[in-house]
Subunit: 341 residues, 2 copies
DNA sequence: TTCGCTTAGTTATACGTATTACTAAAGCAA
DNA sequence: TTGCTTTAGTAATACGTATAACTAAGCGAA
């Protein structure tokens, strides 16, 4: 009894082709994989190819993986597919991966530690050759196992990481400096009471650092408000809490991500406030809708980050590529000034 | 010479565990897979488990797939990850798939025929046990091969499909009726010149039918404008073309998807028009930002569609599940009346 | 004739796992 | 003692592929 129902006819294998073409399975494998086969004359070659075509042969991927220990697949591990920041990243990845012969698969961790661990597990099972990832919870010690088992990792980081001996690279924009610049912009516009909406994990920390440093430099008091996730609900909740305050209501709110800022905008509007007159709002990421909503934000070159990550991985997967030390690549951010500030 | 660099230590296999624990590989496999092993006493069992843990053993997925012909993976084939409609669908899928032991992988076709074909190829290689998909180009004849090879497919459809003998199911909302209702709403609001922005492929057709039927019923002339894709650029381009017209400019525009409607909104605003006073805009999908932007639209229960699709697949993948005829499941849409109309 | 080379393949094996069929040893009853 | 049952495993095999190692036949050269 097979795993599949008997109702489903088995997919043809090389053995079937060999049988039908009157050759051995090895000959079939040879013809199917090499463009030049000195030991198989053109006539036989053509016959084999025709039979394969006729039977609708598709290589069995698991078998091929088992044999060659290569999946020709790159994984992209992200914390939240519903966050519009990531699709652009994936697009960048695909643009480089596809011509290099790699498929891209997306693994969504939901930003939860146990699902991040599951992703590692999944990778250790040999289901992808390399991975681009954003982990909120796991740190280098837990990730090192990937590199040690020969699976290169490119992390989407929030700052420069020192080079390390392992095959762990990173791509990033300087999140602290970007947040600092945005904070300076808000101060330059005359704001003194500026609050920052943070999330518990992820890049929020670095952004908060940049904001905090500039605030203190300017003699102002950083005003952090933290909610759990990078979601509109979190942003709206945080804004509602800010608006409930008596007296020292902020005149500007800096969301640690666009999604948070969007939630904040909605809450502000629901409270009858006009943006930016009653309250200014800034974000981080420049997701596609930011433009539509006129949100002033920090542009991350998501597509380029993805493309660079893919290039790095493809290079790592070439022979000997795992030996070079891990590097950190910086890309430039840009402040997008729109109407919300 | 292995496929992996020699720098990378091989992942431990059952053989390694067997060696270290002084038993046979078969015993290891038994212990690792069955909760009850009559032929292995508790002491040995514990020892094997400890050794496995100590070595950091992870099952080799390809090998397991090869042996058991099951991947415990569901694929989700979508035309565009940057369209915010799909993430919700994926979430719905995952919610059902995860507890049933299935991982979900996302395959992005970019709405292009050749990449849709590649997805089929990919599936025929045995890389997933079942698939939820939206195909813009491939039709049942091309898809039937999946069902024939024992890979159940749930299509995200735009209308009822008659039951068929193959293991191809579908989930849908009645797109024609939904579009009809939205069109009635626009007419009820006093609009007479209502244009519809369409895309070339995909669910746009059915939506156009519903719109067209109601327009004609009301004695009005359907006014279609088609652009290539479901993107903001397409929507903006179409709107720009509409606005360039002399004389018979529409007073309302119905986008065949929210993304199209959003693009149209932006173009209208850039042209200095106020919404809904100068021009009313309606969409279709109810993506998350629709609420933020006050877009009147048709709500598709994306999460429920995903969950239902996953349930259907999981059922299909139970023994004998492939034998039952393909069914079509309808879910309800809802008109979300906001400020853009 | 014998040797070597080319042609056209074939045979055998390994990858890691799951499972079926088998077995050696011990224990116990008759 | 023999025969049977239980215990505690092991040996063998198959999944489909890729590849290294081999070979049989034919031909030309020395």
């Amino acid at each position: 009894m097979k795993g599949r129902d008997k109702a489903a006819p088995a997919r043809p294998t090389q053995k079937d082709i060999a049988l039908a073409a009157g050759v051995s399975q090895a000959a079939v494998s040879l013809v199917l994989n090499k463009s030049e086969t000195p030991s198989v004359p053109p006539a036989t070659r053509t016959r084999i190819l025709e039979v394969a075509e006729g039977l609708g042969y598709r290589p069995n991927h698991p078998a091929r993986m088992l044999r060659s220990a290569r999946t020709m697949t790159l994984a992209c591990v992200i914390p939240d597919i519903t966050n519009p920041f990531y699709p652009g990243l994936v697009r960048g990845l695909q643009t480089i991966a596809a011509p290099a012969g790699y498929d891209v698969l997306i693994f969504d961790t939901d930003g939860r530690p146990e699902r991040e661990a599951r992703a590692i597990d999944w990778l250790l099972q040999g289901r992808a050759d390399g991975v681009v990832a954003t982990f909120f919870h796991l740190r280098v010690p837990q990730l090192a196992v990937l590199a040690r088992k020969g699976i290169p990792l490119v992390r989407l980081e929030s700052r420069h990481k020192p080079d390390g001996p392992l095959a762990i690279d990173s791509v990033y924009i300087d999140n602290a400096e970007a947040a600092a610049e945005m904070t300076r912009l808000l101060i330059a516009r005359g704001h003194r009471r500026i609050a920052m909406i943070q999330a518990e994990f992820g890049p929020s920390q670095r952004r908060a650092q940049g904001y905090g440093a500039v605030m203190r430099e300017a003699g102002l008091t950083p005003d952090f408000i933290t909610d759990s996730a990078y979601s509109e609900e979190s942003g709206a909740r945080a804004m509602t809490r800010l608006l409930e305050r008596k007296g020292d209501r902020p005149t500007a709110v800096f969301g640690a991500s666009d999604v948070l800022a969007l939630g904040a905008m909605e809450a502000a509007r629901n409270a009858g406030l006009s943006i930016p007159n009653d309250i200014a709002i800034a974000g981080f990421d420049d997701i596609p809708v930011a433009k539509l909503l006129g949100l002033t934000t920090v542009r991350q070159p998501e597509f380029d980050l993805g493309a660079l990550a893919a290039e790095t991985l493809v290079r790592r997967l070439q022979p000997g590529g795992l030996a070079t030390p891990g590097r950190s690549h910086e890309l430039k951010f840009e402040i997008m000034t729109r109407s919300s500030v």
